[in-house]
């Protein structure tokens, strides 16, 4: 079987400011982050010949973006319908397309006005959801969280360790939306959104955009920044069962990660122990717990004690997570800002929040189907 291992690299990343109220269109956000990614890579419009995006609620046309960036010819492009499960998937798809010769430099772009535009909860057209008041992704996450607490005794304080730690990580990040310390007392006192999830268990509705440029490993060596190689990736891997999670308690709190992990680590030729840090898709805290288990960083049911107190998941811990603050404190650009952070950590560009001596990082997209990337410097 052919493998994409180390065949391609991320050569440029760019992002807008993450704000609440951008005042501009998603196309404008996409243009801004794309230009920054191109500048980061040292590439111009004539060098970009592939474009990929995913969108849900707010359409973003790659054809429009190509024209807006004065790209003379696009050889490969898709506007994929879908949400946060697609971030890692578009990047590995770009790598596959490059390896297959469909394009040379592919830019993966995501831009949303999720605060000032279409708010969460405005979807929900499923005949079995909206009539019963299930209108928001957080309510689905809450159902999984309830089951995790029931089956494994996971506590509110264990959930709380996640937003507290990620908030600590966001404080030195100038582009993070939330930069004031958060205490366990504040977490526990915060209002219940949908039991058992509190306000701080939920990510931030954000306006912003992120672009990531993928090239062949050979081309990457000639570019402005140090290449960050793609060791392995997964795009929307899914196990059995309808909806998210399958029909048994064990599957219900595992998500796609369980199915992503064997192929992902197998392709990369490493184990979870080789991962120096992870940027885990954290739309809701429960997703972090379930993915820690699904990717094999701890046993099933033990993610609560893994994160408890925050020591293992912060600087100097065995698996630092979401070093920019993640979706819970930096901003929510559907997993794409997590990929940008992973690239910058591996390049050593993160200033006060830079991890020491990191070589291999994991980024994920969730919940089910799930995707992920293993990146190395």
């Amino acid at each position: 079987m052919t493998s994409l291992k180390d065949k391609c690299a991320i050569v440029g990343v760019g992002n807008t400011k993450y704000v609440r109220g951008s005042g501009v269109s998603t196309l404008s956000l996409a243009i801004e982050c794309s230009k920054k990614a191109m500048d980061d890579a040292g590439l111009g419009p004539k060098d970009i010949d592939g474009l990929l995006t995913f969108c849900l609620g707010e359409p973003l046309s790659m054809s429009d973006l190509a024209q807006s960036l004065a790209i003379p010819q696009v050889n490969f492009q898709f506007d994929i319908t879908g949400g946060g499960n697609n971030g890692s998937g578009v990047v590995i798809t770009a790598a596959a397309a490059i390896e297959a010769g469909l394009a040379t430099n592919i830019m993966c772009v995501h831009a949303i006005n999720r605060f000032s535009g279409v708010r969460y909860g405005a979807g929900g057209f499923n005949n079995f959801a909206a009539p019963f008041g299930k209108v928001q992704a957080g309510q689905a996450a809450a159902l999984y969280a309830q089951r995790h607490m029931h089956d494994y005794g996971t506590t509110a304080e264990q959930f709380g360790a996640i937003p507290l730690t990620f908030r600590k990580h966001a404080i030195p990040n100038e582009n993070a939306l939330m930069r004031t310390p958060l205490s366990m007392e504040e977490y526990l006192k915060s209002r219940i959104v949908s039991t058992p999830l509190r306000l701080y268990d939920c990510c931030l509705e954000t306006d912003g955009g992120v672009a990531v440029i993928v090239s062949s490993a050979e081309q990457a060596k000639t570019m402005r920044k140090k290449p960050i190689y793609i060791m392995a990736g997964a795009a929307n891997t899914q196990g059995p069962g309808l909806d998210m999670g399958g029909d048994t308690p064990e599957l219900y709190t595992t998500y796609g990660a369980k199915y992503v992990a064997p192929r992902l680590f197998g392709t990369a030729g490493i184990t979870p122990k080789d991962i120096d840090f992870a940027q885990i898709y954290d739309a809701f805290t429960i997703y972090v717990l379930c993915q820690l288990e699904g990717y094999g960083f701890c046993n099933k049911g033990e993610s609560g004690s893994f994160v408890e107190g925050g020591k293992r998941i912060t600087y100097g811990g065995e698996l630092p997570l979401n070093t920019s603050g993640g979706h819970l404190s930096e901003g929510y650009v559907r997993g794409m800002n997590l990929i940008a952070e992973a690239v910058r950590q591996l390049r050593g560009e993160c200033g006060p929040r830079q991890l020491k001596d990191v070589e291999i990082g994991l980024t994920t997209s969730a919940p089910n189907p799930g995707g992920a990337l293993i990146l190395r410097r």
Partner: protein
């Protein structure tokens, strides 16, 4: 100022689930049974999720089951749930086996809901066109 109670979007039956919604109007909870492998399933779908056979028929479920998971929503998500919260959304493990996603628990205080609690279906006639299957403690 009190806000007007939000209108929840009602089901718009489609080619895959119209038999289910017609059943609700007759106060029957229908699930599908694969005529090849015997698997019982929910949501309504053209083929079996275990063996992909399209040889399927609807059977009347007992309407009994237990709570597999639940969440009580307090946030109105802007205007969407105004007048409806607190609202308990449930996943029910039907006595016949499949998980029914999603419904509401009625006639029960939010603080009394538990995973494993026995429940039974109760049909809410919203209009002449729409009946919703909800559940109450059994």
């Amino acid at each position: 100022m009190t806000q007007e109670k939000a209108k929840l979007r009602m089901p718009m039956p489609n080619l895959d689930d119209k038999v289910f919604w017609e059943g609700c109007k007759r106060h029957e909870l229908l699930i599908q049974k694969c005529q090849d492998c015997g698997e019982k399933r929910f949501f309504p779908a053209p083929t079996c999720t275990k063996c992909a056979s399209g040889n399927t028929e609807y059977i009347k479920a007992s309407g009994k089951g237990e709570i597999f998971s639940f969440t009580t929503t307090y946030n109105t998500f802007g205007p969407q749930l105004v007048g409806h919260v607190p609202l308990t959304i449930i996943v029910v493990k039907l006595a016949e086996g499949p998980l029914l996603r999603w419904s509401n628990l009625v006639d029960c205080k939010p603080e009394d809901v538990r995973i494993g609690m026995p429940v039974e279906v109760v049909f809410e006639d919203v209009s002449p066109e729409v009946t919703l299957p909800k559940f109450r403690p059994a």
